[in-house]
Symmetry: C2
Subunit: 202 residues, 2 copies
DNA sequence: GTCTATAGTCTGATAGAC
DNA sequence: GTCTATCAGACTATAGAC
């Protein structure tokens, strides 16, 4: 028998509605800035009803972070040891930029959390995340050693891909203010392809 | 006669103490996450005494943001039309990375603000910031047109410098978790020089 | 399962003594 | 100028009716 009982359809649906509302509110205001009133209103439920499905405000936040972490790391997971090195890295950049364009709230949720010292997902950073990055960094280092890409520090390469792609989601307000409201993503995709192609084939 | 009376020495000193404490607390917890109790404790003053020097919590935050904006834009201001193009841009990268290393709290203060939609400095983004970036983007575009650097979108070049340098301050916890605690800045400086040199001299 | 009502706590800001 | 005491509102979470 399972340690936790299976959820009914209505429980599953309401939990999803609450997580969607939590994502909207937490990503915009951060953990402390968000209130249960806002989340309840966004979800179309009463405040005590939220706490019927989740034991606390923090539980909603933690559930969001952990359920989204896999999605967030999928583009790096997909980096294929056996593919063409430059194409693999450029594909990774494209997939990561697409996440920023299509899921900006998820990006800002993580950014808020990490910016404040990752009090609720700190463990995953030194655990699963580090394990994954170490593995992929070894792949990239191997490509460099074999002369298939220009020599480059694989860790800072990965950091730079994160920084450059997430910037367009996390600092969207600033980017659009400078560009006068123009959609930054077409230009960003072209620029990043140029940047990493020149870096890796120098 | 001045619209506001001149400040005494003790007033100037206490305002500075409060701003220093506010920077520490706001940069770590964001505007809503910070409390006057924390700031007062950090400053070694009582809570009502804080509000003797500043009319409200928001006034402390706004004073911090506006007094730091100039410092934050100084490295871009210093980009010299008449210098060597590649050296000027690489110097800008170095100066901006030094800000992230030496003033990470200031970086996180701005990141928190922009991430949440810049509710308190939104005006400066489309105003002073855009004006400055437009001017410097024109300089960089001129260098490209004259064949002195490889052709590159000047706006996304500037965004990429911001993203890459600020990442090491704003996501410090994540970077150090992946690197196992090692100081990221020496490696970052070498990597960024390599990256932008290859981009601009391709 | 969902609601209204509310308990208990925290927080920004003020009053008033010294 | 600085403090203690405190107010009024907002907040998370719970109690209990339906």
């Amino acid at each position: 028998m399972p340690a936790t009982p299976p959820l009914t359809r209505i429980q599953i649906k309401n939990r999803q509605v609450i997580l969607e509302a939590g994502l909207e509110v937490f990503s915009q205001h951060g953990f402390r800035g968000a209130t249960l009133d806002q989340i309840a209103s966004q979800a179309g439920l009463s405040k005590p009803n939220l706490l019927y499905y989740f034991p606390s405000k923090e539980a909603i936040h933690v559930a969001l972070l952990s359920s989204l972490l896999d999605t967030w790391l999928a583009p790096l997971q997909a980096l294929d040891d056996h593919g063409d090195p430059v194409a693999e890295i450029l594909d990774y950049v494209r997939r990561k930029l697409a996440l920023s364009r299509d899921f900006p709230r998820e990006s800002r949720l993580f950014a808020n959390e990490v910016l404040q010292g990752a009090p609720r997902i700190g463990g995953a950073l030194g655990g699963d995340l580090k394990t994954l990055v170490d593995a992929k960094a070894a792949v990239i280092r191997g490509w460099g050693a074999a002369g298939r890409i220009a020599p480059v520090d694989p860790y800072h390469l990965i950091f730079s891909i994160w920084a450059l792609t997430q910037h367009y989601a996390d600092f969207d307000v600033q980017v659009r203010a400078v560009l006068g409201g123009e959609d930054p993503f077409p230009g960003a995709e072209a620029y990043l392809e140029q940047l990493f192609r020149r870096l890796l084939t120098a």
